[in-house]
């Protein structure tokens, strides 16, 4: 697997073209099948070519990767743990049929510095920018997580940092705005269009058009023109590489299923990609929002069709004449009308299943994990939890389901409260606790005289 990971972002030699495996994409031209490419104004071609060149050169540069590994260890806090979620698993088993209730494992990206997987990419790209001699960084942000991660990496490396954020998002995520400012970044609020992530991305690209010579644009997900999807995947693949080794230690085997939420799709690509050639069922969970009506969801893979947005061809939410549609999700990080081109490729290849989970289901999962495990997940991540819980109830007890716990939910507490109608219902809590007591009793009866295999932690 190490070899395929090392090949990320570049096609194998010409001789291998006939036998291109699913992990051998993108092609040299940045294509994942028909998806990807680089549909950008000519002014940006120079910057993308420079980025491709630098990226190729650092691939062979052992010193760069050693530096990155050291920072990931001492500054980001990697490796993040793999955690056996026994509390959640018990809850699921208490409501499942006989011999049902797969075990759920969580890859704890919420424990990475700044509270989400976003830092893996932000740090890697900021170091890349230093290698290119750029002195200024720009980035777009929706909920503020990528903005905070980028501002944090720039503070560490001494780079000037401007973050574009829709004014609507800035209002909803005031705390993250202040956080970025405290880290020394300038937050530029965007008043055009829908004033959310899509418009912040447009504005960051416009900035880059006029500043390409001195500025690097750190895209926050596996989206945008080539080579961004490949580079972001590479920096996020540390999640999957760690999870693979940790699974072998903790489960004694590969997981049977991996579940991750998909907005742009970077945490999903990060955990899927290193294991994409393995026989593991993989599920990407999109934001189903309020309904499947146009404008009420953010699920381009489930409900959209192929089109071009922000520089690449992928599934997208567009009207019949190519205008980008509004997206909706309770989770700002998933509230985006596009998705990374590699996910579109994996979907069409049948390699990864994609589904959508509604705002309400995500909110239920948000509370469920908080109350069964003492882990408050991000609303984005809660979509993956919801799907994993549903699936675990159908799967055999012997099965292992790995969920990428991509971020912590502290940022979402206010939004969750609003969605719950301004009140956290205690009855809900009591019900969960009652179940736990019941489960304990039942587990005790059932496991009398048996050793309990659960409870290990890697």
């Amino acid at each position: 697997m190490t070899e395929t990971t090392q090949n990320a972002g570049e096609a194998p030699g010409e001789q291998a073209v006939e036998e291109r495996r699913i992990s051998d994409y993108p092609t040299r031209e940045g294509r994942f099948g028909v998806y990807g490419g680089a549909y950008v104004p000519e002014t940006l071609v120079f910057a993308l070519e420079e980025l491709i060149e630098t990226y190729r050169s650092i691939r062979e540069n052992e010193q760069f990767w050693a530096e990155l590994r050291e920072l990931l260890r001492t500054w980001v806090g990697r490796p993040t743990p793999l955690y056996g979620a026994n509390g959640l698993t018990r809850h699921i088993r208490s409501r499942s049929g006989k011999d049902k209730g797969a075990k759920i494992w969580l890859k704890r990206e919420d424990l990475a510095h700044t509270g989400a997987h976003k830092i893996n990419n932000a740090l890697g790209q900021a170091m890349l920018a230093v290698k290119m001699g750029k002195t200024r960084i720009i980035a777009e942000t929706g909920a503020g997580q990528h903005g905070v991660a980028t501002a944090t990496a720039c503070a560490h490396l001494g780079l000037a940092c401007d973050i574009y954020m829709g004014s609507e998002d800035a209002r909803r995520q005031k705390l993250n705005v202040v956080r970025m400012q405290m880290l020394g970044a300038r937050v530029i609020e965007v008043d055009s269009g829908s004033r959310t992530l899509k418009d912040a991305t447009n504005e960051a690209m416009r900035d880059w058009m006029g500043s390409v010579e001195t500025t690097h644009y750190i895209i926050g997900s596996v989206v945008g023109p080539h080579p961004f999807p490949a580079i972001v995947r590479e920096f996020q693949s540390v999640i999957g590489r760690e999870a693979m080794a940790q699974s072998l230690r903790a489960m004694g085997q590969m997981p049977d299923v991996i579940v991750a939420c998909v907005g742009g799709g970077s945490n999903a690509a990060g955990i899927f990609y290193p294991m994409i050639e393995e026989e593991i069922r993989m599920i990407g969970v999109e934001a189903g929002g309020e309904s499947s009506d146009a404008g009420r969801h953010a699920a381009p893979l489930s409900l959209g069709s192929p089109g071009i947005l922000h520089g690449s061809m992928s599934y997208v939410l567009q009207d019949e004449s190519g205008q980008t549609s509004e997206a909706h999700s309770c989770s700002a990080g998933l509230d985006y009308p596009g998705v990374g081109p590699e996910h579109s490729f994996w979907k069409d290849q049948g390699r990864v299943e994609y589904c959508a989970v509604t705002d309400q289901q995500a909110l239920d999962a948000f509370l469920l994990l908080s109350r069964t495990e003492g882990i408050v997940p991000a609303l984005e991540t809660s979509h993956a939890i919801a799907k994993a819980v549903e699936l675990a109830g159908e799967e055999s007890k012997d099965a292992n389901i790995l969920v990428n716990l991509s971020g912590r939910g502290d940022k979402d507490v206010e939004e969750a409260l609003r969605l719950m109608g301004g009140e956290v219902k205690p009855s809900e809590m009591r019900r969960v606790q009652r179940n736990r007591r019941k489960d304990k009793k039942r587990d005790g009866d059932r496991n009398a005289g048996k050793s309990q295999p659960d409870g290990k932690e890697s």
């Binding site: 073209v17 549909y39 071009i308 004449s321 190519g322």
Partner: protein, 321 residues
């Protein structure tokens, strides 16, 4: 080369870029559907030589430039945002700009995410979309005005729109509405070969942009892939008004070594003096944001937008004298 699969249209490799230029050739080994035989025989005229404008062209843009060249004149190429300030104004604005001295008119088809455009044009496009603009409504306006104006009409259109509607369908509809050519502002050379070929098949020109950051080697290839005229971007960055005239002499001179096509310069050209400075070297000056702003201001203060557009273009045309 033809394919009935719209999504794979973008995959087809350039006919003039050799495959060994691996960074630019579009890979398609893994995509057998696009190498299928063409669904229909292509007409003989389907392989125009991009470097030489045809001796006798039926295309209005070619004829406009040939006529100006014969008289030793230069061209003004104003940009108007279709369906702005209102869907009803498109026809009258085009007529006014034509009568005021435009040789070619760029008609921007409103797009939700125009990343190459500055605040003035982006806002105009946004307003037009809110008012209900669609590519079809723009085609309708062009169809009704085509016979009443002399200028060549070029559609400035995002590749996102073209791809969604389908390259072939979009180009056919644009041609039948009366457009003479296309500018694809967010489609770089590497993705454009199929679009250019289809436009040529329909008898329309297709223009790509050359930027300040474009290398000489690449600029040459872009110039050779254009038909009608070459668009030289005068500054890095997005569209929008600027205080100073751009310095383009050396770049235009260099470009003429590679192409006989007319060279049009745009981005930041805002006054008659700028126009004068540009056409000292280039064949045409493109003015966008400065014109759209005047249309905006007229509409906002209840004045006639088309009259304001006409007056400003007449003023700009002073730079051609």
């Amino acid at each position: 080369m033809s394919s009935n699969d719209e999504a794979s249209d973008m995959m087809n490799e350039s006919t003039d870029a050799p495959v060994e230029v691996t960074t630019d050739a579009i890979d398609r080994e893994h995509e057998p559907s696009v190498v299928a035989p063409p669904e229909a025989a292509e007409p003989e005229a389907a392989a125009p030589c991009a470097t030489e404008p045809p001796v006798v062209s039926e295309n209005r843009i070619d004829r406009v430039f040939a006529g100006l060249r014969a008289e030793g004149k230069r061209a003004l190429m104003p940009f108007v945002c279709a369906d702005h300030p209102s869907p009803a104004s498109t026809v009258s604005v085009i007529e006014a700009v034509d009568a005021a001295g435009a040789s070619v008119i760029e008609i921007g088809i409103p797009f939700s995410d125009p990343i190459a455009d500055g605040p003035v044009i982006a806002a105009a496009m946004h307003e037009a979309l809110v008012a209900g603009s669609t590519p079809e409504s723009v085609f309708e306006s062009v169809r009704s005005v085509r016979d009443r104006v002399q200028a060549g009409l070029v559609a400035m259109v995002s590749v996102s729109i073209v791809q969604r509607i389908g390259e072939e369908t979009f180009i056919r509809r644009a041609a039948s509405a009366g457009f003479d050519g296309f500018i694809f502002p967010d489609c770089p050379l590497d993705e454009a070969s199929d679009l250019s070929r289809r436009a040529a098949d329909a008898g329309l020109t297709s223009t790509l942009l050359i930027s300040t950051t474009t290398s000489a080697e690449r600029a040459e290839r872009i110039a050779k892939a254009c038909t009608g005229f070459v668009y030289l971007v005068t500054r890095a960055g997005i569209t929008g008004e600027q205080a100073d005239a751009p310095d383009i002499g050396a770049r235009v001179t260099k470009l003429r070594e590679w192409t006989d096509l007319p060279i049009a310069c745009g981005f930041g050209i805002s006054t008659a003096d700028h126009v004068r400075a540009v056409v000292e070297y280039a064949d045409a000056a493109i003015v966008g944001s400065a014109l759209v702003r005047r249309v905006n201001e007229a509409a906002a203060s209840g004045r006639d937008a088309s009259a304001a557009a006409g007056a400003f273009v007449r003023e700009l045309a002073g730079g051609l004298e």
